[in-house]
């Protein structure tokens, strides 16, 4: 029986020729990523060693990445103190892949890892963040874990008790119509299979649309795989993967072009043709409550949010800037923009996108996660409605259970900022 991408990766990470679905393995970890919750991981890590009477030492300081992004700059003394403790731990353990709150190298963890070339095809990547699925875009098996699990990884270098998952093959064909974006594909898929449709499974993306898609779009797809319950999303590496890693991420070493076998077994195959897809909207309060934009057009919006690990990359800001250039955000609407990293922020500055957005009335915030999950700025008032390019619309997600969040692509968000209501950018004038 042939092997899927994830089977091949897990076989390699356990020194085996092949692995079967359902087997329980302890694969070696290539990259172990945490953000501010490293404070909790540290606590659990120290507890493990406290019981052993040996000094607490991480298995490999070069394979641990820590990126401050959830509450930056710190919103409270509690966060600031936790960040301080994590910095001390990083120094003590000699952890090398650390991205502090800095305008030259900071940003959101799921952008920092790809743009620094920390993730390569075939890697096993774990992160104490559910959107760690993002890095599957580079051909890695990448998934979210809890803080105590991460403490065990820091100690052992292996991720314990991983059951080899089944894989769903998603085949995407057709040319995307104007203003229909990768975000619309993944929202459509989640709506189709539900928020638990891929629970404990992997979504492996194939098809001509994926082959033509830039790494940025692939990162968006894999980022939201978790919203269908998937353990991970994954895109087999190709020329675009190599282009991104060489040209944008500065990778000079070998890149292994891992591919699934022709006769790999998939538990399900889903085919999507995007040539007639229209912009999609995830309505409150679940990500799988997805409707074509025609069903919600005209709904009044209080706050537009463009950014996050899902849609805060350069092409996302470009489409927003193109739509808003020389125009004005409607009165009564607040528009917040937060790029996924400072590298992107700098590129958007040089290309004039930031200027276009600010002149139109947008508030450009520093790269970080805050507004997406209601922990740091951008909170909603009672009964207010937000339209966001982020990844979740759960009740209370943006800090107020009395508000509503709709999810969309950057093109829809930008067009809607001009009108103050959900607007289809395909309807012209942009």
């Amino acid at each position: 029986m042939g092997q899927t991408m994830v089977q091949k990766i897990l076989a390699r990470a356990t020194g085996r020729a092949s692995v079967e679905v359902g087997e329980v393995l302890e694969p070696a970890v290539d990259i172990a990523m945490s953000h501010e919750n490293a404070a909790l991981v540290m606590n659990q890590f120290q507890e493990i060693f406290a019981g052993l009477g040996r000094p607490a030492k991480v298995w490999n300081p070069n394979r641990i990445a820590i990126i401050f992004d959830h509450r930056v700059p710190a919103e409270s003394k509690k966060t600031a103190t936790n960040q301080k403790k994590v910095r001390a731990f990083i120094a003590e353990q000699g952890i090398t892949k650390f991205h502090d709150i800095r305008g030259d190298e900071g940003g959101i963890c799921h952008q920092i890892l790809p743009e620094n070339g920390y993730v390569l095809p075939g890697y096993v990547v774990v992160g104490t963040d559910s959107h760690t699925t993002t890095h599957g875009a580079l051909g890695a098996f990448s998934f979210g874990i809890g803080a105590t699990e991460m403490a065990a990884v820091w100690a052992l270098g292996n991720i314990l008790n991983v059951e080899v998952p089944e894989t769903i093959k998603v085949v995407v064909e057709g040319e995307l119509p104007k203003y229909v974006m990768p975000k619309d594909i993944i929202l459509h898929l989640i709506g189709k299979i539900s928020a638990e449709g891929a629970n404990f499974k992997v979504l492996e993306f194939h098809g001509s649309t994926i082959r033509k898609m830039s790494m940025s779009g692939r990162l968006t797809l894999c980022n939201m795989a978790v919203e269908a319950g998937a353990t991970s999303g994954i895109v087999p590496p190709d020329e675009e993967t190599v282009r991104f890693l060489r040209q944008e991420a500065g990778v000079t070493g070998e890149i292994e072009m891992l591919a699934p076998d022709e006769d790999a077994h998939y538990c399900q195959t889903i085919e999507i043709n995007v040539s007639e897809l229209t912009p999609q909207i995830a309505c409150p309060h679940t990500v799988d409550n997805v409707k074509p934009i025609s069903e919600v057009e005209g709904l009044s919006i209080d706050q537009i949010v463009i950014g996050s690990c899902t849609n805060g990359r350069l092409d996302d800001l470009e489409v927003a800037a193109d739509i808003l250039r020389g125009k004005k955000v409607a009165r009564g609407v607040r528009m917040l923009v937060f790029p996924a990293s400072y590298k992107i922020y700098q590129q958007a500055l040089e290309l004039g996108y930031i200027n276009d957005l600010v002149k139109a009335g947008a508030v450009v915030m520093n790269p970080g996660c805050g507004p997406c999950l209601g922990v740091h700025q951008g909170a909603l008032g009672d009964k207010e409605v937000a339209l966001a390019t982020t990844n979740r619309n759960f009740k209370g997600r943006m800090g107020n259970p009395e508000s509503e969040v709709y999810l969309c692509s950057p093109a829809v968000a930008a067009a809607s900022a001009l009108t103050g209501m959900i607007t289809n950018p395909q309807k012209g004038g942009f």
């Binding site: 909790l40 493990i48 699990e149 314990l160 008790n161 999950l373 979740r392 209370g396 997600r397």
Partner: protein
């Protein structure tokens, strides 16, 4: 004997169990106060009641979906709750096992607030309604962590083997 104290629907997210605004609070000793903070009556009940009785929350499918925040498991563990759900989201279930939060996968569960339950390894028996429901067992590898008393002791055991500590 265990008593159902609250009933929830499908897709209860970690944002509902442990709102993001409290994520700066990380220690398991400090998280229980914020459990279900946006469901005020439940939060109040959890924080005010002192009882030795086993308290059960019954939920639908995909309990714990969303974020990987471990506080969502530690805050419930701190209240000594048992969660009986039709099924669980992956990361939440793993976190619960790692921390020792009692989770029961019971795909057909029917129960109302106030019902008395008897929970065995194979069945949930609803004494009040006179019905019983099959329990789906944890995968063997996960049960091993439960049997070790959680992931910390389990990892300590593995480390001792590697380091040759008796």
């Amino acid at each position: 004997m265990a008593k159902v104290i609250y009933k929830l629907g499908d897709d209860i997210s970690t944002d509902i169990i442990y709102p993001g605004r409290y994520m700066a609070t990380v220690l398991p000793t400090e998280t229980p106060q914020y459990a279900f903070d946006d469901i005020k009556e439940l939060n109040k009940q959890l924080n005010s009641e002192k009882t030795d009785e086993v308290r059960v929350i019954v939920a639908g499918k995909n309990f714990g979906c969303g974020s990987s925040r471990e506080q969502a498991a530690s805050c419930l563990k701190g209240h000594n709750l048992t969660i009986v759900a039709r099924d669980f989201a992956r990361i939440f279930l793993q976190n619960s096992i790692n921390l020792g939060l009692q989770t029961v996968i019971c795909p057909e569960i029917e129960a109302e607030v106030g019902d008395e339950l008897e929970i065995t390894t194979d069945k949930v028996i609803n004494k009040t309604q006179g019905k019983q429901f099959e329990v789906v067992h944890l995968p063997k590898a996960r049960q091993a962590i439960v049997d070790a008393g959680g992931l910390i002791p389990y990892t300590q055991k593995l480390l001792k083997q590697r380091m040759g500590i008796e």
